[in-house]
Each structure stands twice: as structure tokens, then as C-alpha cells.
Symmetry: C2
Subunit: 81 residues, 2 copies
């Protein structure tokens, strides 16, 4: 089994309004040392082992998990017992 | 500067309906090798350097970024140039 951890974030050129809102809330809690907050999505996919796993992960990320117009992704593939 | 990456996931006992929906969509794309999908949230917080950063990160996670009834979190603190 493989565990694929996918991190989806907004492209740097896109305004992260959720991140900005969280930054304001953090400041109102008194933590002024926080200079920037970004919010994204996180997925864990558990795969059976097989060849060409990465190609399929790319397809799933491109077609389902992200909006390629505004989001970008990275992932890591871990061995799972 | 420190970069804090926070991963928020549902507790295992909580039904992950978004994850289930994504798993169904992945299967309908033909990728039957995916056995389980979990969806969570991902945050990046950029902090000024200071002592006791972890205590504040814990407070921000507990009070703002997660719903402690149904979610759990982990984070990593990285050095940022």
C-alpha cells in the first residue's frame, strides 16, 4: 500500500481571502508576529501498489483535486504497511 | 522567519463525507486502486522569530484553525530565510 499526501495551494498570483481573514483573526487574538497566512487543502489517498502510480496521481490531481487555473499542488508518496 | 505548516484532519471516528465523495469520483475516473481518501485543511503561517513560538502555534490551532470536537492537527516548524 502507498499513502499519497497531496497539498493544494492557491497560486501566488491569486488573492487568498481565507488566508487574509485568518491572519486578521490571529492578530485579533494578539499574535502580531504572524505576517502571512495561506490556506489550502490537504488530501490523503491510500493506493494499492502498482506501477505508474505517479502518472495516475498527476491525473487525479489535475482533473479532480485542483482547479488548475488558480491552484497548484505537490504530493509525496509514502510506503504504508 | 519561521514557516509553520499546519495539517488539520478529521478524527478517525468522524465520517469524512468529502473524502468518500472524492473516492467515488476517483473510482468513476477508472482508478479503482484507490482504497480510501481523506480530506483536510492545510495552512502555512509565516512567523517572526521568537521564543515560545510553539505555545502560540498550539493556541492558534486549538482556538482558530481546528474544531477540537471533530478535528485533530499536526504541524511542523521550518526555518525560512
Amino acid at each position: 500500500m502507498k499513502l499519497v499526501k497531496v497539498y493544494v495551494t492557491l497560486k501566488p498570483s491569486v488573492l487568498d481571502s481565507q488566508g487574509e481573514a485568518i491572519k486578521s483573526a490571529v492578530h485579533s487574538m494578539g499574535y502580531d508576529q504572524v505576517e502571512k497566512v495561506s490556506m489550502g487543502k490537504y488530501f490523503e489517498l491510500h493506493f494499492q501498489d502498482y506501477e505508474n502510480l505517479e502518472k495516475d496521481v498527476d491525473a487525479i490531481c489535475d482533473e479532480l483535486l485542483t482547479n488548475p487555473n488558480i491552484e497548484t499542488y505537490r504530493y509525496e508518496i509514502l510506503e504504508e504497511k
